[in-house]
Subunit: 422 residues, 2 copies
């Protein structure tokens, strides 16, 4: 039986999860898959830190080269997180001909070209199922199951922290700040929540997903990004009343040869399968020209779900006679600088005759057609009313330019939330 | 570039779908996957039948050996459906060393051991992603992504026809017969609907799914099977009032080394992701010890979704250096002859004092604990009432023996529907 020697980079929660899973299922994996594993070396900062799992101390090292340059190590598993030094270590391992299994979306998304090139050159494998949506095998689905499709769109709830926050805001009518501080207390949000709530984490993942879906590199800098920090309970509630659920959606589409990749608060109809993905769950909705609509749902994070994906990559790597790299063309991806979707537009306006006519006229002049409009009287704000417009599909640029033209004395406050999935 | 020569067995809707997909995406697949395909021979009954896609007549043959025994053919794709002659043809192709790609759950489930043995002996590949749930890559998910898990349960809506019928019964309160005849008129149910409505189709698929999940062969004869023909609008409605949605569920669990595999009408809580899988969509819910809960959702049938899965298998087969066969132990699977779940029990009883006490006492004597009970007065049935019991988790055998002991003059009508997913 083929025996694969593994080096770990890092041994936090996820690394310990992998260690535990290999201990628990190693024998079963040997029997079923015909491969066996030996954890040969573990790079850590501290050899004596308590880890909640018994690991022989002789495996630990604080010297990166003991993992990266040791010829006896076949596969390097990276769980350090963050861009550096993880990215440099991954590149060094690949250049040394070692196959890398990683859950690090940030390192991968920011050094994609370099890593693919390094793997191609040395013949090493690069596996990253765990980098997007934990246990959900979305990387495999796109690469190994939907290859016969032209994928037209990928929409996902791919960040658990923001989904937890929005699910609770939606259910309880609570404010963003309240729920965030709860989430921090429960360990569901980081003390500095920026990476999650501003959509950076989702943008890394979307860069990877869209690159694989459209076979052209979609750099993370090209992903449009808008976080959830400005989401108000009022918009969440008004959306609910119109049958819409608010999610931080990562959306990638290819239209007429141009790719749009964007992360932003998005309304989806309550009846859409993504609407009922709550709490810490993730889901990715894929549309292809042959397969039609599909959804992949599961735990997007957590030690053991992530370890499940990492070990499946490890098995795949160990069984491979030749490592496949993703088919991504060398031609740079042409990004769309505008896109068409429905919009939820809420405005606070002066409550006087003729205002609606003027606003509707402005939308019309910019080619934005209105599907429905609701006026809400507002208690406590004399002479002001809330108007909520739902547009038909319209160019985002047209919506923005219509809004820019509206008179600031008439319109005092505006929320624009994109609507997808209808 | 590796060129794979393909022979088709059959060329109905799905065969034509594959033909069309290869024409449409062949070039793209060559570029991305590095494999190319040539459709070399197509076995048909009639060479002149109109097929809605232009296929050169020289490809057609009415002689099975032109596909099965031609040395120049590498891969046989089977779309004939039904057990025979499909199963014999598949076996003959495998014995001739040809890799087989099939969507035929019936042939596969009824000749599993033989087919795996034939493939193992000749070194040919056997691929069947399309046999379960059309485009949904559930076979790959179990075999290539969740290998590090001990899968504890698989629950699926894996038959589109019955899901369409139950979705409409649930939405409209219509009767089974009404919706069935509509479905037949729309081509969503066969003129003879037995295979779908009696759960045979789902049982074939569940045999395959559970065999792969538990690594032991679960023969289709061991799948407990109960169709939807006795489902009443009353039960559907009463369930809805209790927050339960009725589905034909295929359920497989492994508990204490014993496997239970069963297809039957099942209530799931409205909040369960499976509850919102409607119409012709399929979904499979998997629970594993590391990955936790996951769901795979998509089109379970249709020419192009099925073709999407078939071509992905074709690509996988063409790229394989060595064909992997599923890891299934030789030890026969020990099947459970009883199982524990919650039950919805509706009874029509004489509406007189003391009846509830007697019935509750009978349940208690058999160890069946009641979670809730609702009494519904029944218009037009003098002196009768409906009692609906929801049990706590209880052995099915215990529930049945309690019911058997109840006095026929008191209890005149009983529905028992299992509840899963809470």
């Amino acid at each position: 039986m083929k025996r694969t020697r593994i080096g770990f980079l890092g041994c936090g929660n996820i690394g310990c999860g992998v260690y535990r899973l290999l201990q628990r299922q190693g024998k079963r994996i040997e029997e079923n898959e015909g491969v066996s594993f030996e954890i040969a070396r573990i790079l850590v900062r501290s050899k004596t830190k308590a880890r909640g799992v018994e690991i022989p101390e002789r495996l630990f090292t604080t010297e990166p080269q003991d993992v990266l340059d040791d010829e006896r190590i076949d596969v390097v598993m990276e769980f350090m997180g963050g861009e550096e030094p993880a990215a440099s270590y991954i590149l060094r391992a690949l250049r040394n001909g070692k196959t890398v299994v990683t859950a690090n979306k940030m390192a991968l998304a920011t050094h994609w070209d370099e890593m693919i090139a390094a793997a191609r050159e040395s013949g090493a494998g690069l596996y990253y199922e765990a980098s997007v949506c934990g246990a959900i095998p979305i990387i495999r689905a796109i690469g190994d199951s939907l290859q016969a499709n032209r994928i037209t769109s990928v929409m996902g709830i791919i960040n658990g922290t923001t989904n937890y926050i929005l699910s609770r805001m939606s259910r309880e009518g609570a404010s963003y700040e309240e729920v965030l501080s709860d989430a921090q207390r429960l360990g569901l949000a980081e003390p500095d929540p920026t990476a999650d709530v501003e959509g950076y984490d989702a943008a890394y993942k979307l860069s990877i997903l869209s690159t694989l879906s459209f076979h052209r590199h979609v750099p993370v800098e090209c992903v449009y990004r808008e976080g959830i920090t400005n989401v108000t309970p009022l918009d969440v509630r008004l959306g609910r009343e119109m049958g819409l659920t608010l999610k931080l959606l990562a959306v990638a589409k290819e239209e007429e040869g141009r790719v749009q990749a964007r992360v932003h608060p998005t309304f989806v109809p309550d009846t859409h399968p993504l609407a009922s993905v709550n709490g810490a769950f993730n889901a990715v909705y894929v549309d292809g020209d042959a397969c039609d609509e599909m959804m992949f749902y599961g735990r997007g994070a957590g030690d053991m779900p992530t370890a499940s994906a990492l070990v499946s990559d490890l098995i795949k790597a160990a069984r491979a006679e030749r490592h496949a790299l993703p088919a991504v063309g060398a031609v740079p991806c042409e990004m769309a600088d505008d896109w068409i979707c429905e919009h939820f537009v809420r405005m606070q306006v002066s409550d006087e005759p003729g205002v609606l006519a003027v606003l509707a006229g402005t939308f019309a002049r910019h080619g934005v057609s209105i599907a429905s409009m609701v006026q809400k009287g507002e208690s406590g704000t004399q002479g002001r009313a809330q108007l909520i417009f739902l547009t038909h599909k319209a160019s985002e640029r047209a919506v923005r330019s219509a809004l820019a033209e509206m008179d600031g004395s008439t319109v005092s406050q505006v929320s624009v939330i994109r609507v997808e999935g209808r």
